[in-house]
């Protein structure tokens, strides 16, 4: 019977037949998240190409490399861990840049610098925006155009909010409003905790 919780030789040469190191297994597991995932899929296969950062999400691969190095650096000296901590600060800047670039490919940014600063300061919105696009396409069509804009809260000038303005194209205003309400009901309201109320969609 196998011990279900420990594997003492895990970091050793535990794969003589298949010649695979523990670090590679971690990359495999973490790498599954670096693929552009369909909305509900559980498929979890790591695709090749992590070193050239050309498959899946490049920014995710950067994170994965960092995490893997971090995991396997734990036995190293404290100064090395500090160096990793410093890398993390830089890493976040790189990752945010990559994520903003990704969002710019599916949304229009109005006053781009203002939107970017808002996103960096409210980074929980990244994943909501990334996940929202395919759902919005289900309601408004594949060609729907959405512009992101930072606006001042109507009740407090010091509070800013990000809005995604949906151009409903040829839809009548009643039809567009109905679809926006359905989108809110089916998907967006569920994301409220992630946005912290600082982000919303509206019709153009």
């Amino acid at each position: 019977m196998l011990d279900t919780t420990t594997f003492p030789n895990f970091l050793g040469a535990f794969s003589p037949k298949w010649d695979k190191k523990a670090m590679q297994y971690f990359v495999d597991m973490l790498g599954a998240s670096a693929w552009d995932e369909a909305y509900g899929q559980t498929f979890s296969h790591r695709w090749k190409g992590e070193d050239t950062l050309t498959w899946g999400n490049a920014d995710e691969w950067i994170l994965i490399k960092w995490i893997t190095q971090h995991i396997f650096a734990q036995e190293q000296a404290q100064e090395k861990l500090n160096a990793f901590a410093q890398k993390e600060v830089n890493l976040r800047a790189v990752v945010y840049e990559a994520r903003i670039a990704k969002l710019e490919s599916i949304y229009t940014f109005r006053n781009s610098d203002e939107v970017k600063i808002f996103l960096i300061n409210n980074n929980r919105i990244f994943s909501v925006l990334w996940g929202a696009r395919p759902v919005l396409e289900e309601f408004f069509g594949n060609d729907v155009s959405i512009a992101l804009e930072v606006v001042n809260d109507s009740e407090s000038a010091n509070v800013k909010q990000l809005f995604g303005y949906i151009n409903a194209g040829t839809l009548s205003s009643d039809e567009a409003f109905e679809r926006l309400s359905a989108f809110d009901e089916v998907w967006f309201l569920k994301q409220f905790d992630s946005t912290g109320g600082s982000f919303n969609f509206n019709l153009e």
Binding site: T4, F7, F10, K20, D28, Q41, T42, V95, S127, D193
Partner: protein
Amino acid sequence: MAAIIEAVFGRNVTLVYDALDLQTIDRNKLRGVIPEITPTVMDMPEMVVAVYPPSPWLIQIGDRRIRINVAAEIENIGDFPLWEYAIKCNELVPADKVSIIAYGYNFDFGVRFQDSTSLNTLISKFVLNRPALEDTLQGTLVSYLPRLVFKTGDLQYDIVFEPMNDAQMKVHGNAHFQYAGIQLPPIEGLKSSYIAQYEHLRTVIEKLLND
């Protein structure tokens, strides 16, 4: 048999939610998911990872998903209670606010070939007319990685064949449950479903490569 599954490298249970706010995940409860081992919990942008060196466990939370992974190469499915930890991980998520929309299992199989090469086996099974294909390509087929996605009722399977060299191939198998009103089964149901899907995928892969 020309192709034999001789190893399972990794396996996971993946839970997908309609929303998942990482800030609602209680890190202390996460530390207690796997008893008697204290993990290192790392907060990354949009991802929380719990690792347990030298144990082969890894829990990833992000992308609206929780993945409970085991990376340990053994001959068969092993006795890792992923179902138990999946249930515990599911309890980290505020049930009154978010719903599970899918769950599934993933297995990485290592296949060894005896009488044929991995590439030739795949080509003989899946390529109807190699000369015609190579004529179209105006080149010699060096590698071929088929991916089969198919459904049985509400259950969707995804199998990826990835030759490593002449004698070895990695095959990834995914069993995916997604339907309206889906709920994570209780612990015994999840365990039996996980084991049944492992057996099914293993059988299908062996048949595909041998029959």
